[in-house]
Amino acid sequence: MWVKQLDAAQGMEGLKSLPGNPDLIFIFGETGSLQSSSLPGQLAKRFPDSIQLGCSTGTVIDHVKLSDEGLSIIAVGFKHTRIALHVHPLPDIAHSRETGEALGKLLAAPDLAGSFILSEGLGVNGSALVQGLQNILGNDAVISGGLAGDGARFEQTLVTVNGKPVSKVAAALGFYGEAIHISHGSAGGWDEFGPKRRVTKSEGSVLFELDGKPALDLYESYLGDEAAELPASGLLYPLKIWNEKNPQDQFVRTILAVDRDTKSITLAGDIPEGWNARLMRGSFDHLIDGASEAAQHAHTKLNEKGIQAELCLFVSCVGRRLLMGQSTEDEVEAVADIIGHNTPIIGYYSYGEIAPHNISKVCGLHNQTVTLTLFAEAA
């Protein structure tokens, strides 16, 4: 397995240093750049046999640097691993589960080692999408990935597939064979605060009421002036939700949209009625500790096998980016400090992360986390 980060600024020039034709190219780009750049198309033309996958975002991660513009590209070649890309339409939020199930069927194979999912980031119920995949592949399936992002704009998200940016789709990349080793780490580092609340009215991923009061009112009072920037500013206060009857069921949910008429907020995943909820907020230090924790977990998993990660896919929540500003790079640094600065990192700031939870084998949709997927190939 070889991995080569490409400098998008150099265009096709950077390809000269590649050790061979890549099997896989990841491209993450600021939404506008992704739409306007000709580079993905040229790459597809240049390497017609390689698979190209990526998505839109507000901020790309290119090793330890963040950038709110341009593209981040990495090329990967495998020696012993077969890969396959499947794309399925995701016309609206109601089709999330169905799309997940369709992709699950396409991915399914006895030697499936893991899969990486990138999906439309706004018109999707991420929980349902993952549930759909698990319905086919089983709850233990190794699934990670994320929802496409659009920075603080929340206007349009894209998935780029073989040189073309497309909307309203979900894509799944399958890794097959015994040579590929994949490990994960996912953590938030957010702090709970304020009183415990109860979800008194909700429907799927739309939250109407907490403790009998409109959910939007609560957010508006906590955001003050910044309420004008909803839904983006809502990311400053994620919601931890958990099922009191089964405390293992706990998630961090973040806001994707608000509806001022119904005073409801749409979250990136389900929020079941009757569950408990508590607001969260981040301090720079704790968020960075969260990133370290995720890295430590993923790193340890490979290290136990005596394997060094050869690629790190870094999917982090746009909320972290909005909160930490320039300090956001600290979390990428923290990850690099643990997995090693020689391991290439590529990634983006998302509207939702998909990964097995650290304390559970069950895969799910997460919000406000750093979610890492480490790859290594060993015969």
Partner: protein, 629 residues
Amino acid sequence: MTEKQDLPPLLARQVGKATLPDGALDARKLLGLVAAAYEENERDRRRADRANDLMAQELEDALTAIELQNMRFKAALDNMTQGVCLFDKAARMAVCNRRFQEIYGLSDADCKSGNNLIALLLASQTLKQADDMDRRLLINEHIEMDEDTSCALEQQWPDGRQITIHRNSIADGGFLDTIADVTESRKASAQIAHLARHDALTDLPNRLLLRERMQEVVRNALRDERCAIMCLDLDRFKLVNDTLGHPVGDALLVAVSERLTSLVRSNDVIARLGGDEFAIIQQHVRKQTEPAQLARRIIKELAKPYVIEGHKVQIGTSIGIEIVNVAELNPDEALRNADLALYEAKAQGRGTFCVYSSEMHDNATQRRELETDLRDALTQGQFVVHYQPQLDIRENSINGFEALVRWEHPTKGTIAPNNFIPVCEELGLIDELGKFVMQTACTDATQWPENINIAVNLSPLQFRSGNLPDIVKGAIALSGIPASRLELEITESVMLEDVASVLEQLRSIKRLNCQVSLDDFGTGYSSLSYIRNFPFDRIKIDQSFVKDLGDNPDSLAIIRAVAGLCGSLGIKSTAEGVETLDQLDILTREHCDSAQGYLFSRPVPVEEVHALIYPDGLPKQAKPKGKAA
């Protein structure tokens, strides 16, 4: 200048970003980045402040809401009629209400949360009123209640109150005691239970309690032990009620119950079954004669006069007795048997007692059959009227017939009136039967000569409805017979009914121009006041006097006196039961007006009447007939 690697990471990155490709530092760009970082930090601090303020406010609001809730909760608790006290899992008091303090007599200081139950109970001023032993017992009972399950306890407290303690375990491992003062409720329940089992007037046990007592007797039976069950009925009680009013009747019942109580042993049971009926369980009967002795004493004592509200009242008692082996006592059966014996005692003329025997049961069975048959008889036309002639002694000719009802039973043959009239009276069939006889007799008599009267007997009970005159009028109208030919015979027992009403009806009947006779004279009270109070047309001398003529000089004297009295008062006299010519001779000498008896004819069906009136096809004197009925 400090080396880049010694800088804080953020500043180092900022320096990196502000370093131009030629290695020179773009100071403006660096300042911009640093200023932005300060602004980001400032914004973050403002967010934290705002969040802290809001959170504090939310917590404050929640606290206020909880305080309000607590206040309401306390108000609700303190206004409960029950005392409640909540204990935590270490059995320390968490909260109690005012009522709990009141019931136990505890001060606020006693009820500090954290106190355990023993401390509370020891501090209770109410429990301190008990002596040491009782107090310890009450406290122990309470503290020994199970803390893990629901249970209840009822205590009688030193101040006389009845207290219930309910304990319910609660989810967090503690328990809740609910204390209720049930004194009044228990009193009321006891009262209700007493009322349900006692007669309200006399406070004697009622039928229900009597039955329970009988069951108790059975449960506690010793080997071969016997007991007597008695049923008592007061004779002439109804008369007291009707003439002196119900308050006097009620007072009489109370007086009777007191006398009864004084006559029995303490472990015997007296019950009032209703009206003037009482029952007694006489326990531990060793000799067969003991119940009879008690019955005699009762009959004697109850017959002694009572003075009630200034009235001197005298009544009698009839008693039926069932003597049984206690082990075999069946309450229903024993009462039924005693009742049958009572029926027999009353039939024997009241003021006496009878011990149950199995024939009584047979008789009762027969009687039930009779009742059924009687009802059928009326609807199926099994009653017929026979006629017995009355002879005008001076004229030596028939001057009337007495109508006598017979029951032609489809299987038992002809049944005489004394075997079914009393039952008809009891069953309330007498009005219908009486009406039938009167109607038939009047109709039949229209076929006879004008000078021959028809006599119809009236039962005292026919006067009760008050419409007897209408029935008489109806029979006359329907048959077309002249009212003067209809004689209505009553016995003096009619006067034992509501005298005023009877006299009123008799006068109405007289106004119709009917005649009224006094039947069976000489057998009962034979009070001359009856004769004075009502203008009877005829007095019929009872056949017992006629039968004794020649044997008993008293009978002759009585007949002479009655005939003389009648002569003086202008009332006709008729002698009944004339069977011999000698008797007829005497009656003729004594100036009796009429005679009736087998000497002339037994009662005959209507078809044979003509032959009696016209033995030779012409109206001649009646000839003596055979004696066979």
